[in-house]
Subunit: 294 residues, 2 copies
């Protein structure tokens, strides 16, 4: 049972020149596969998705594939061939053959500069252990994302809402959080609207309602948030989107950063102020998320 | 005489674990050199510089190396070993052995996730022919950069002013310009201050003065702009920095996008309005820039 596997996708898009070769091939994940001229490596010019795998099943597969295609369109990349990507994800999971929690990351770059096709790969790996984050929670700091909450409408070239490989800022804010003694980040727009985490969606509870920042804010359409809402509705909770201010978030009864692989991490502090964790509610949410098989 | 050469830098930083191997080695530029786990490729998490080479000499070498080190510090990367980077740049130029215009791009990524060292390379290539851009000029559109002009001070985690591999936006605005029938872009801050081009610095002339947007705006400290100012002062022109509004730029007598490899491209239109090109002045500027040997 390998700890990680890598498939190079030679036919990532229907627009790529035809080839009689297989659409993908498994290679040694530790071996060099990309040239130093790949625009993924030189310009962060590409897209990705990370899917959770539980009990050998890809979770929210259709949602992730839809979002992958949407990111491609936002970057004017060739449309990914979703049949091939779906098949390579399933093959990667089968090759990994891991009974516990795992993930698959799919990546499509614009390819080699002046080349004729995107570069694609799927990387499958056993997941890190997130027990601590799921139970004790994460301390977050709110950090300015620099953009107004409406840039997705006014300035689509800023790619807000696309899941791109240009994630240097998403990594830098993690280091800033650590400098402030925190674990994670909630982005706030320059005009004071709560957006998302650098690799997660914000969800919070107020009474019998579960909420998340509204759509159209230049943030990702959360795959795990959608599942959390599905679960909440089964529990008889109301769910809704709202334009969230930092004060609204601070006054919530509980809040989470939710994402595909880490699942729901309860927020236990905001900007050094302790924040209530609902341990039983969180455990139920994570149990349901981990057991999902679609 | 190869058209392009690639050196992998195995000792990019003094902080990287010691090795008895040579600090760099030349490899086939078309062969795979990076793994799919390199944070350069998966997160755009790294930095770069592009240097112009004229007559076999690197131009503004010290300035580029200083900026490389500054970008590394802004991203909390290990400090690049500038002696080694300087040597590999010179070796790359020697290996390329091209009498005409060429360039060297140096890249340092955060390396493989959970690894112990950055990944580094230097890529040298013959330059494209920029005669048309240098003589006829470029039509630009002004596009919102999304950020206020003061984010470098308020929100350093946004990495404004660092030359990172997360350049998906810099590429997206080029496509937006093309959709509008233009060649290039001038970024404007969300509060209406002219910033820079996606791969260039804005320089403009008003009477006997050459100007450029002020420092501290979250933009790059232009290596070519510094040389253009040096030339202008030799010509008896005054030079200065100013907080530039779009109207100030539009009312200039002439303007350029200046960068290391393309040199000075005169702006011939702004947002579809024709803009005056001073052909003789531009030619003199480019002649001097191309002949620089330091």
């Amino acid at each position: 049972m390998p700890q990680h596997v890598l498939a190079i996708v030679d036919r990532p898009s229907r627009e790529a020149p035809g080839t009689d070769a297989a659409p993908w091939r498994f290679v040694d994940p530790g071996s060099p596969q990309l040239t130093a001229l790949d625009l993924g490596a030189t310009r962060g010019d590409g897209i990705f998705e990370s899917l959770s795998v539980g009990h050998g099943r890809a979770q929210a597969l259709d949602h992730h594939l839809r979002r992958f295609a949407r990111s491609a369109a936002m970057l004017d990349l060739p449309a990914p061939d979703l049949d091939i990507w779906r098949a390579v994800i399933l093959a990667t999971i089968a090759e990994l053959d891991h009974p516990g929690e795992a993930f698959v990351k799919i990546v499509m770059t614009r390819g080699i500069e002046y080349g004729d096709r995107p570069t694609g790969w799927a990387y499958g790996s056993v997941s890190p252990d997130f027990t601590k984050e799921r139970t004790q929670g994460v301390a977050v700091v709110m950090l300015d994302r620099g953009y107004r909450h409406d840039v997705e409408q006014t300035s689509p070239w800023l790619l807000a809402g696309a899941k791109t490989l240009s994630y240097a800022i998403n990594r830098a804010v993690g280091r800033e959080a650590a400098r402030r003694g925190a674990d994670d980040v909630v982005f706030v727009s320059s005009d004071g609207i709560v957006l998302e985490g650098p690799t997660s969606t914000v969800v919070y509870r107020r009474g019998n309602e579960l909420l998340t920042p509204g759509t159209g804010l230049g943030i990702l359409d959360g795959t795990t948030q959608a599942n959390v809402f599905r679960w909440a509705e089964q529990q008889g909770l109301a769910t809704s989107f709202e334009l969230t201010t930092p004060d609204l978030l601070r006054s919530a009864d509980a809040a989470w950063l939710v994402s595909s692989v880490r699942l729901a991490a309860p927020i236990n502090a905001i900007d050094d102020e302790p924040f209530p964790v609902d341990a039983a509610f969180t455990a139920a949410m994570n149990e349901w998320l981990a057991a999902l098989d679609d």
